[in-house]
Amino acid sequence: MCLALPAEIVSLDREKDTAIVSLGGIKKEISIALLEELAVGDFVLVHVGFALHKVSPEEADRTLAMIKESGEDPLEEFAA
């Protein structure tokens, strides 16, 4: 039910409020009636055929950086 996936916008049709997105290479038509100011190349969270929200690349990077700061990999010393 709550499965939603980030997909990249490949093309937009504002007349029909639809977009074609690429989901790991699979193309699909979705509704963009819930979002404004979208552009080709944006990532959106797709749920039941609708784009719910834009995915922010900057914030995604920041979150990953925050996770990396959390500490050393305890197995790193064994990997050497």
Partner: protein
């Protein structure tokens, strides 16, 4: 896949696990309720519980819209198809959920009712356009994520003047349910269900934002960290909750900033407000009647309201007697505490909704955790301990 694989990185998960072991105070327990079934499944599928020290426990909440829908409403949907000869369209999750007398949408379909599984409500609109001689009813369920698409469809049906399309509305609200759990006597007075903090819903919050949780973080003095559904998201949010609890804070923090903002999706919220209004009360499986916890269609759109169009009345139907779904949904019991679990109740022939829904806690235990000695005491080792 971008924005998915990076948040499943094993090396980073080990770092986070080590940080959690380091920062969790060994002299206390941390009971963290994940509200969403999506989190429950991430925790089980990726073995997140096994990476936690013994004093950090996840308590599964009621956050699966399929699991919390009472049996009477599923009976209603079957009646719409059978008695009113409507074409009932539903999201796939609902199809096998047991209704009264061991029936389900799928069994009614097998018996000849016109019940169709759709991926999106726009598919239901399409069916209505193509079959103007049939009444098409969309069985709408879900939290704040599926509600805006339903609003869009109703507005579209009105604009097109579709006369054979209606919605059987069962949309429910997350903050009301969380508040209800915290106010339930089991949690508040008896202390049988310890909840120290919440992993906040991810996709729901993309629509409503982080703001609605501020009230009860303050009122109930419990921290909330909104977390994405990937394993690293869950672990990072858990670390953030542990830090808040260690410092005696109870704030709303947002780990899922790549999608969730403070105010959420304002356009979606405006569309929902245009089409829906609060129900004074709605029955939830496991929680009973929860005030102001669900939405109904406004009078201005009553022609698209299946409840009015077909004069739907909901009977109260008791759950199967031995099924522990109600307690499991409140976090009071674990799936393995239910004597039906894994014996007569399996995903192939489910008795309760927590087993049938792909997001139910019982389905998660069955799929990923059934053989695990439950970590009630500890029983799990961190990678660090394993390496030693």
């Amino acid at each position: 896949m971008k924005y998915v694989d990076e948040f499943r990185n094993g090396a980073l998960a080990r770092r986070l696990a080590a940080a959690i072991v380091r920062e969790a105070d060994k002299s206390r327990m941390y009971h963290i309720m994940e509200f969403c079934g999506g989190h429950t499944h991430a925790i089980f599928r990726y073995g997140v519980q096994d990476l936690m020290p013994g004093n950090v426990r996840f308590v599964h909440g009621p956050g699966c819209p399929v699991c919390v829908l009472p049996i009477g409403r599923i009976d209603n949907a079957i009646e719409l198809a059978e008695r009113h000869s409507a074409t009932v369209c539903s999201y796939g999750d609902m199809m096998r959920v047991p209704a009264s007398e061991r029936r389900s949408l799928l069994k009614a379909k097998a018996a000849g009712a016109d019940i169709r599984m759709v991926y999106s409500i726009t598919d239901a609109l399409k069916i209505a356009r193509e079959h103007s001689d049939r009444e098409v009813v969309f069985f709408a369920i879900g939290f704040e994520t599926t509600t805006p698409p339903t609003a869009v469809a109703i507005l579209q049906a009105k604009a097109e003047g579709l006369r054979n399309f209606s919605v059987f509305c069962n949309h429910v609200l997350t903050p009301a349910a969380i508040q209800h759990i915290l106010q339930s006597p089991e949690v508040r007075a008896l202390g049988t269900v310890a909840i120290d903090g919440f992993l906040g819903p991810s996709h729901v919050s993309s629509v409503i934002g982080s703001r609605p949780y501020e009230y009860f973080a303050e009122e109930f003095q419990r921290p909330v960290v909104i977390a994405g559904f990937e394993p690293l998201d869950v672990m990072q949010a858990t670390l953030m909750l542990i830090r808040q609890l260690n410092e005696g804070r109870h704030e709303v923090e947002n780990e899922y900033v790549r999608v969730v903002t403070h105010e959420g999706n304002l356009k979606a919220q405006a569309l929902v407000a245009e089409v829906f209004e609060l129900r004074p009360s709605f029955e939830w499986r496991g929680l009973g009647d929860v005030p102001y916890s669900a939405l109904r269609i406004k009078d201005a759109f009553s022609e698209f309201d299946a409840e009015k169009r077909f004069q739907v009345t909901t009977r109260r139907v008791r759950d199967a007697k031995s099924c522990e779904c109600p307690s499991i949904l409140r976090g009071a019991k674990k799936p393995t505490d239910c004597k039906l679990f894994g014996t007569v109740c399996t995903p192939e022939s489910p008795i309760g909704s927590c087993m049938v829904s792909s997001e139910g806690a019982c389905a998660a235990y069955w799929s990923y955790g059934r053989f695990r000695q439950d970590a009630g005491v500890s029983g799990v080792r961190t990678h660090k301990e394993a390496a030693e």
